[in-house]
């Protein structure tokens, strides 16, 4: 990372931490926001946040590593989480999983080389009456069929490129 980039990131984090207050109970808010903006929480970010909150970086790392919606490695712009819990399994999540892997060309736990999509398993999404269910970032899709996958991915893809800035703004809200 360039020194200037580091400085910029530090400034950003400092503003963010101050907006939530420099106390331990702000930590999860801060980390969730960093994750949303940067698609992960880098080691450097963890160190800066720890410094600002006056705790050890290991404390921050321990929190990041605990929660499944916080990541230490960079995730795609669109994180797809397919529910693998019992009712979605019975409703045919395996077929959905296969189709996602085929259409994205990656396995679960991986990110596409262009950094657009990550594929993950999720535990019960609370959509059990209408499985199989999956999350794409915050958006929920239910009663997913293998055939629907292509359309869902195209929906995401239509937001890249020239539309990317609009999406970025949407994500900032």
């Amino acid at each position: 990372m360039l020194l200037t980039e580091r400085e910029r990131l530090r400034d950003e984090l400092e503003k963010l931490v101050d907006s939530h207050g420099r106390q331990r109970s702000s930590l999860l808010f801060i980390l969730q926001e960093v994750q949303r903006r940067h698609y992960y929480i880098s080691e450097y970010s963890m160190q800066v946040i720890a410094d600002l909150l006056d705790i050890h970086p290991v404390e921050v790392y321990s929190v990041v590593s605990f929660y499944s919606f916080l990541d230490e490695t960079k995730q795609g712009q669109f994180v797809i989480r397919l529910c693998r819990t019992i009712t979605c399994e019975m409703a045919g999540k395996d077929e959905i999983a296969r189709q996602l892997e085929n259409d994205l060309g990656i396995k679960f736990g991986e990110t596409t080389p262009d950094g657009k999509f990550s594929l993950k398993w999720a535990n019960c999404l609370g959509m059990c009456d209408q499985g199989p269910a999956m999350l794409v970032n915050e958006k929920v899709y239910t009663q997913v069929t293998p055939e629907m996958i292509h359309g869902i991915l195209e929906d995401c893809r239509s937001k890249f490129g020239v539309h990317a800035t609009a999406l970025e703004m949407e994500r900032q809200i």
Partner: protein
């Protein structure tokens, strides 16, 4: 992108908004607490702790600062009633929190919303804003002098164990969501060491109904130890999955009849942490004194492979265990290994018995509810479906 959830008629839709809080403001703290106490309302999250007792203990604490926390970290597999309540009756949940705040003397309320339900957040914030404008949150709530109360929403970050109240509080404090040793209990040492009550989404909504319609009305339904109606999230192999409201004490067979799951071979009551009830016991009642549940009812049809179900639940617990205590962290993978041996048809009776005693050890020695309940489904499947799981040939267990 979400299909509408099938529902029967819910009591929540018949309650006039604001009538519960109005009744509570009129009759005062002590009387309100008495009404909740008489109603016999118990925690709708599944554990069934008497709601009035929790509130009373917190009310007695001399602390100036107290908290009302709504547990909207609905992560139990097969549960989705809180999602429906938050989407359709958010006002009632906030109203219930306000009544609780009045009773215990809290100034701040927190809704801990699971990350998977982020899409509900905008709606909840809108409802909160509306309530602030109506004077139902903020300073002098409902016109009562000195009653200041407001509610904020905190997001979870994807951890099932945070549904356990002390883990939830840890998470609110910006820590790993690891359950605490108890005592001390949250009612005196909760969020930031202040007295805190943590109640389920549904519990708050029922508190409003009770204040509006009276304890007697509530007690008319249910059993002696499990009063009132309860919302059930029904999923799996039945014709009409959805959210259903029925009195506690309803038998599993009756419920299956209503949702079109009569041919079920087994029913999982209480989610991954609950029990797997075989057909021979479908006359058992869903109530705190018999088969308790936070609402999760998963129906397994005749063609389901019970070992696959056991494996799915164990994988869930292995993934969600916080790893803090040994029985849970090490026990669940051992049980899963055993299930895989059974699937391959390579498990001796002696080893199966070993596994069962390991399961019992986990129930006894784990620190929190997650580890204590993780072996439940395994144990009930081993107990009730021996013929199906023993002596398999590998091709049979695909």
């Amino acid at each position: 992108m979400i299909a509408p959830t099938t529902k029967n008629k819910l009591t929540f839709s018949t309650i006039e908004p604001g009538s519960g809080l109005e009744a509570a403001l009129t009759c005062g703290n002590a009387e309100s607490l008495k009404i909740i106490n008489t109603s016999g309302l118990r925690g709708r999250g599944g554990a069934g702790f008497p709601t009035s007792l929790k509130w009373e203990l917190a009310a007695k604490q001399p602390d100036e600062e107290k908290f009302v926390v709504c547990n909207a970290d609905e992560g139990e597999p097969g549960t989705f009633k809180d999602r429906v309540i938050l989407a359709d009756f958010a006002d009632m949940v906030f109203e219930g929190m306000t009544i609780a705040a009045m009773v215990i003397g809290a100034q701040r309320g927190i809704v801990y919303l699971r990350a998977e339900y982020t899409y509900l957040r905008r709606h909840l914030e809108d409802v909160l804003d509306q309530r602030r404008k109506q004077g139902l949150l903020g300073k002098n709530v409902g016109g009562k002098k000195g009653f200041d109360f407001d509610i904020q929403i905190n997001m979870g970050s994807g951890a099932y164990v945070c549904g356990e109240e002390t883990a939830l509080i840890e998470s609110l404090e910006g820590q790993r969501g690891e359950p605490r040793n108890r005592p001390p209990f949250p009612i005196d040492t909760g969020y930031l060491d202040h007295p805190t009550i943590v109640n389920n989404v549904e519990t708050f909504a029922w508190a409003v109904c009770i204040m509006a319609k009276g304890a007697k009305w509530f007690k008319k339904f249910g059993t002696e130890k499990s009063t009132g109606h309860k919302l059930f999230s029904v999923s799996g192999d039945c014709r009409r999955p959805g959210v259903y409201e029925y009195p506690l004490g309803i038998t599993i067979a009756e419920l299956l009849d209503k949702v079109g799951g009569q041919d079920a071979k087994a029913v999982q009551v209480g989610g991954a942490a609950g029990q797997c009830i075989p057909r021979s016991q479908f006359n058992r009642a869903i109530a705190y004194e018999d088969v308790p549940t936070g609402g999760s009812i998963i129906v397994f049809g005749p063609h389901r492979d019970m070992l696959k179900i056991a494996a799915n639940f164990l994988e869930f617990f292995i993934d969600e265990s916080c790893g803090q205590c040994t029985p849970c962290r090490e026990g669940a993978p051992k049980l899963l290994e055993g299930v895989e041996m059974l699937q391959r048809g390579q498990c001796s009776m002696a080893y199966l018995k070993e596994l069962c005693s390991l399961g019992e050890t986990m129930q006894l020695a784990s620190k929190c509810g997650l580890g204590q309940t993780a072996p439940n489904t395994f144990l009930s499947i081993v107990e009730h479906f021996r013929d199906e799981i023993l002596g398999r040939t590998p091709e049979k267990s695909k």
